[in-house]
């Protein structure tokens, strides 16, 4: 089956009110529907999704509630268990003062210098 690389660059897009990152949700859902051989490359601010110490709190706007804000690193770990491979752009992590030790163990760093060869290994590139 064809290999799909999902590049997630836009971070925190409606994730509070959806209680999910909308791109990761769909990637996970279609994996469950039989689209296997998917990978995710986190770039830009989305590299923060892999930080393992995230503790989002519930929000209330008067009587309106966001009771279950998603824990993005846990969503990534759940996808990893389903066989979705996880990568991050190493320079984007370093630029944000994040160390590899801050990240979940399921993600693998890719250097910008090897990005072209890395991307070339996939049949489909979906940039979110």
């Amino acid at each position: 089956m064809s290999k799909v690389l999902n590049i997630i660059d836009t971070a925190y897009r409606a994730h509070l009110e959806e209680q999910d990152d909308t791109s990761m949700w769909l990637i996970h859902a279609i994996n469950n529907a039989g689209v296997e051989n998917q990978s995710i490359l986190l770039t830009g601010n989305a590299v923060n999704y892999a930080v393992k110490t995230q503790k989002p709190k519930a929000l209330n706007f008067g009587s309106g509630k966001i009771p279950y804000p998603n824990k993005l690193h846990e969503d990534l770990q759940a996808m990893s268990k389903k066989g979705i491979k996880l990568f991050f752009l190493a320079g984007d992590v370093k630029d944000r003062g994040i160390s590899q030790g801050d990240l979940i163990g399921e993600v693998e760093g890719i250097d910008r210098s090897s990005l072209a060869d890395f991307v070339d290994d996939f049949d489909h590139i979906w940039r979110w």
């Binding site: 409606a14 769909l26 529907a33 689209v35 979906w126 979110w128």
Partner: protein, 136 residues
């Protein structure tokens, strides 16, 4: 030989030039005899909402009749018609979860309701899939 292009759209109407660009790609592909499948995700499910209507333009001092404000539902209807005329296939699937959370479930004939399994099927049956996300 005709091919099938699968497109995922995410932007709501009147927010981004992504929408017009996507419709241009669809029209161009249909005119060249290719088949199109569209998965409208998140805000893009409002593109086909039946209750869209034009309005006057007070800046230009035009009435609604004079302004003839473009409606995205008409673009979609137009692409269905163009595909019929050209003998190609055009399929538009609105994400049902996205429809429900927005209350935009009424549309004219053509679009259908679906979800991730339909998008998975469309991907598998297409020659290529183009993701056009909301970028910020």
């Amino acid at each position: 030989m005709s091919k099938t292009l699968n497109i995922l759209l995410m932007d709501p109407p009147y927010e981004s030039s992504n929408t017009a660009t996507a419709f241009r790609i669809m029209e161009s592909a249909i005119n060249k005899g290719h088949n199109i499948t569209v998965f409208a995700y998140e805000g893009a499910t409002s593109l086909t909402l039946k209750h869209q209507k034009g309005h006057p333009n007070p800046v230009k001092d035009t009435t609604a009749a004079e302004e003839k404000h473009p409606l995205t539902k008409d673009f979609v209807t137009g692409l269905f018609g163009l595909a019929r005329e050209k003998g190609t296939s055009f399929r538009w699937v609105n994400c049902g979860f996205c429809v429900d959370e927005r209350g935009v479930g009424e549309w004219d004939e053509g679009p259908e309701r679906g979800g991730p399994p339909q998008f998975a099927e469309m991907y598998k049956n297409a020659d290529q899939t183009l993701i056009i996300p909301t970028s910020r």
